[in-house]
Symmetry: C2
Subunit: 156 residues, 2 copies
Amino acid sequence: MSSQHAHSHDHDHGGESWDAHATVALARKGTRRSSARDTVVAALAGQECCASAQEIHSRLRSDGSTIGIASVYRTLELLHGMGLVTRIDTGDGVARFEPTHPDGAHHHHLVCTTCGAVEAFQDDALEEAIHRVADRVDFRVDAHDVALRGACRACR
Amino acid sequence: MSSQHAHSHDHDHGGESWDAHATVALARKGTRRSSARDTVVAALAGQECCASAQEIHSRLRSDGSTIGIASVYRTLELLHGMGLVTRIDTGDGVARFEPTHPDGAHHHHLVCTTCGAVEAFQDDALEEAIHRVADRVDFRVDAHDVALRGACRACR
DNA sequence: CGCGGTAATGATAACCATTATCAAGTAAAC
DNA sequence: GTTTACTTGATAATGGTTATCATTACCGCG
């Protein structure tokens, strides 16, 4: 489905890995250590782009974990509340999640309305334009997301 | 809930009204005339910003209509498939809809993550940036949407 | 004008992602 | 080791959306 090349154990985007960043943040928050949470954090760290809770759950189960779906949702909600994961709605009624990189780097998504594939893109001019809008409106903007919908190369 | 000021019967944004535009498009498509569809089209034409299917349904029922919820969903899906309405996902698991204006003018949304309020904004530089991205990627982009999330004036 | 074919309707059941519940398990403090 | 209360996983409940289906109503045709 998604074009994961290698399931790298961590992506070092220059600075510290998200995995370490998240672990530290959780410890600082005072949460108790638990294998379910560790498992979800590891799964997120090893994913190239966004994934749904159910996708994460079934991937973990097929890797031998006995984690329950509720724990996946709980962990994602916790991490999302801490700003460690970004939630993406592609419009198909399923929420998708991906790690928020500590250096602020992020991307947006191209969604194929035919096959449902999701690809990522990154664009500085777009970010710039969004920040200008955020400054201008009477609203405290904490996050933003952009989705471009259409047909991917294969479906076109 | 949302801050609708005036429920104008139609918005003439310079050119023809969306109402007329939609009616013509439906006739051209060869759909049979029906009161349920007319009712939903009228409801959409008279709304300032986006509304959920359930909101539209209960508004119509309280106005005396006997329309069923299924017909609201069906009509919205039909109009969406024809490009006459835009679907917006604010991230709360509820799809919202608003008319797509024939002149191409459109806006994006500010979503308050505290109270759920949705406001609209419009920005030419942002549109420009998005079009440039659309030209650059290996993807046929048909539509786009942007959501800025945070806290509205009241919740801040 | 009435008839027939069939699109459209509205009530309701089914679906499915997500959330809440709760008894059992377990990490950390003492 | 014991206690405390945070976590867990199974499962029930929730709620938006979609599918089903018998009935209704639009519209071309005779």
